[in-house]
């Protein structure tokens, strides 16, 4: 460079202050969300037909024997609450990854059929093949990946186009849902509880056997996505700009899709496709964080909070015990419509 005009120190300081302030806001939001998740987690261990005080819960979690609580909290509530957190984090993280990558809030995996595909495969494996545990998880992940790749291949005519991908996803989602319905109606007696698990998601009957694979997947795959944070941020600027910034666009996208689909599939195999969590977490996180950096971690936390709270509401607030997916579905739908209305009005990315 022949001449470099050094910028005024005041401007550099202003830029730095601006950045620090935005990062600070984001950190504060993350901290508050994390605290809320912990509180909701504790609440779901304490609340139930019998209330156990925090002391009892802590002792059970630490492995001590407490009359009654050891079974109720340790065997029933703990796996359920852990699964709620794991599934929420997974759905939130995967959802916001898809939304960021496809540059459209509506392109979340539950709108475009990836989650329904995993749900259909899991239901098939359980009902027809009599499988359980890891085999079901593997089936779900294979199906979800197949759906994602099929969608990608079908949408690829001259370069993948987001719009087309979303519409094709809607078609695939419809097919997957009808396959699930068919599997369930073939199961002989229409087992309503089981059906709801695979259609809308449910934490009823959560066990450690179902939770552990999802937890392992989260531990392995979440870091992959977090490492890609900056690349995903650049992809938001369009493929060309991202590429000009030195990003391997296709490679980033494939890695992100595989990781996100993996998260979704393992969580879905454990508790069904909990309606709208993937879809809601990102936009809610965006609302709270504002334009202050990556949404991956905030969205994951929002997802966990949503599942925990919706499960509490579904179990105890409504008289009848509703599965968590029905609650998130009913809560999520108006928000979805609000979002469509708002985006349409702004002439946004639709």
């Amino acid at each position: 460079m022949t001449v470099v005009v050094p910028p005024p120190a005041a401007t550099v300081d202003a830029v730095a202050r601006n950045r620090v302030r935005r990062a600070g806001r984001r950190r504060a939001v993350i901290t508050v969300l994390a605290v809320l998740v912990v509180v909701a987690f504790a609440a779901s261990l304490m609340i139930g037909r019998t209330f156990y005080p925090p002391g009892d819960v802590v002792r059970v979690v630490l492995g001590q024997e407490v009359q009654g609580a050891t079974f109720t909290v340790g065997r029933l509530r703990l796996p359920r609450a852990v699964l709620a957190v794991v599934a929420g984090l997974s759905f939130g993280l995967a959802g916001v990854t898809f939304q960021t990558m496809l540059r459209n809030a509506l392109a979340s995996p539950d709108v475009i059929g990836v989650t329904s595909g995993a749900g259909a495969a899991a239901a098939f494996a359980i009902v027809f093949l009599g499988w359980s545990g890891t085999a079901v998880s593997v089936t779900a992940i294979v199906a979800a990946l197949a759906v994602a790749l099929l969608m990608y291949a079908l949408a690829f005519t001259d370069g993948v186009v987001g719009t087309r991908l979303i519409l094709i996803g809607i078609g695939i989602a419809a097919m997957a849902r009808s396959i699930t319905s068919w599997v369930l109606s073939e199961a002989g007696a229409w087992d309503f509880a089981e059906a709801l698990r695979w259609l809308t998601g449910s934490l009823n009957g959560s066990t450690w056997e179902a939770t552990v694979p999802a937890l392992v997947a989260l531990v392995v795959l979440a870091p992959v996505l977090l490492v890609l944070t900056r690349q995903l941020g650049a992809l938001q600027l369009g493929d060309d700009t991202a590429s000009a910034l030195g990003i391997r666009v296709d490679r980033t996208r494939v890695v992100a899709i595989v990781a996100a689909v993996g998260l979704l599939a393992f969580a879905t195999a454990a508790c069904g496709p909990i309606a709208f969590v993937s879809f809601l977490a990102g936009p809610i996180a965006a609302r709270i964080v504002g334009p202050n950096g990556s949404l991956l971690i905030p969205a994951a936390l929002v997802g966990a909070l949503l599942v925990l709270l919706a499960d509490l509401v579904g179990q105890f607030a409504l008289g009848t015990r509703f599965p968590v997916g029905v609650v998130t579905g009913v809560l999520g739908a108006p928000y979805l419509i609000y979002l469509i209305v708002r985006t349409n009005r702004a002439g946004g990315s639709l």
């Binding site: 709208f276 009913v330 979805l336 639709l350």
Partner: protein
């Protein structure tokens, strides 16, 4: 100075060109009409003859004559209303989809995709659960009201913002609304054991439980729906050219569109009331028919009714055969046939037009 107009086509010329390229000779249309009628007779016969229990021709003939003495004859007697229902519902959905695509000028419009059938379903379940509406006529009225509400809502949401009701926006609004309605439906039905039993039939449509009395209840609604829809053909032809041009041709755009939409909603609401939500028939049929007879709605609309009847009846037969001795609801079959078709349409469209 020469004043020869530039060769840039005037709207009129473009339209003439467009219509010219898709106009089919009358003979071709009549031929296709005969083919479709033949297919319809064939699938209806198959539908009566085929099922989980095999029956002989003599039994079928006897059953058609009103006898139900042997088990075979009794089975056939049950298949007759089922076949009639499939034909009627298929015709209603096919026609409803064609009108909807015409009204919205949107190739992805379909009572299922747009969530309108689900609106009818939810309305019926809410009617059961909260208002004790169990009489056959009140079910039809609620279904139609639900369908109309859902249609207005989805169209309003989908047409906000830039570019009006693009296929993408409408399809997304419809899917979102559908998903919302299913969640509400589950939430309403779940605490009530009496309804929860039959909830499956309100989430997936089927024609298995058909009876002539049920058909008789919806028949007046369907007749009005068919009449209104078919009479809208000319208006839909004008609307196909765009609102401005249609108004320029003397069409009262808002009125014409409202009337046609009403006919379409009547059809799919009544169909849902008697058979539950069945998707994709209204999507697939008009596209196939346009290939056969062109885009003139005066031919297209009756054709979609006939083809819809063929498709739904055939799907029902397939559902009865592939999973013997049990049956697959026709709503599942149509989704499995229709969704790939939907994807094919999306792939054919230019992105700009989505």
């Amino acid at each position: 100075m020469t004043l020869a107009p530039s060769p840039s086509p005037t709207p009129g010329a473009a339209v003439a060109q467009r219509l010219g390229s898709v106009r089919r000779p009358r003979s071709v249309r009549v031929l296709w009409l005969l083919v479709v009628l033949a297919v319809l007779v064939a699938v209806m016969t198959t539908s009566v003859a085929v099922g989980s229990r095999g029956v002989g021709w003599s039994e079928i003939v006897a059953a058609l004559g009103g006898s139900s003495e042997t088990i075979g004859e009794a089975a056939v007697t049950k298949r007759i209303p089922r076949t009639v229902l499939a034909v009627v519902v298929g015709a209603a959905l096919g026609l409803s989809g064609a009108v909807m695509q015409g009204v919205t000028r949107n190739p992805l419009a379909d009572p299922g995709v747009l969530g309108i059938n689900m609106g009818a379903s939810l309305a019926v379940v809410v009617g059961f659960a909260w208002f004790g509406l169990f009489s056959a006529t009140s079910i039809v009225w609620t279904a139609i009201a639900g369908a109309a509400l859902a249609a207005v809502f989805v169209y309003a949401v989908g047409s906000l913002g830039r570019g009006g009701a693009t296929p993408l926006k409408l399809a997304l609004a419809g899917t979102a609304t559908s998903a919302a309605l299913i969640s509400f439906l589950t939430a309403v039905a779940l605490p009530r054991g009496d309804i929860a039993e039959s909830i499956q039939s309100w989430e997936i449509g089927g024609v298995g439980g058909a009876s002539f009395s049920g058909l008789r209840t919806v028949l007046p609604f369907l007749v009005v729906g068919f009449a209104v829809s078919l009479l809208s053909a000319r208006a839909l032809n004008s609307l196909a050219l765009g609102d401005e041009l249609a108004a320029g041709l003397g069409e009262r755009v808002v009125l014409a569109r409202g009337v046609a939409a009403l006919g379409s909603v009547l059809l799919c609401g009544a169909a849902t009331a008697v058979a539950g939500p069945i998707g994709f028939v209204g999507l697939v049929v008009p596209h196939v028919c346009r290939l056969l007879v062109g885009v003139d709605h005066r031919w297209l609309l009756p054709f979609t009714a006939l083809t819809g009847a063929c498709l739904l009846t055939a799907s029902d037969v397939v559902g009865r055969i592939v999973a013997r001795p049990s049956e697959i609801d026709v709503g599942i079959i149509t989704a499995l046939i229709g969704a790939p078709f939907f994807i094919a349409i999306v792939r054919r469209q230019k992105v700009r037009e989505l």
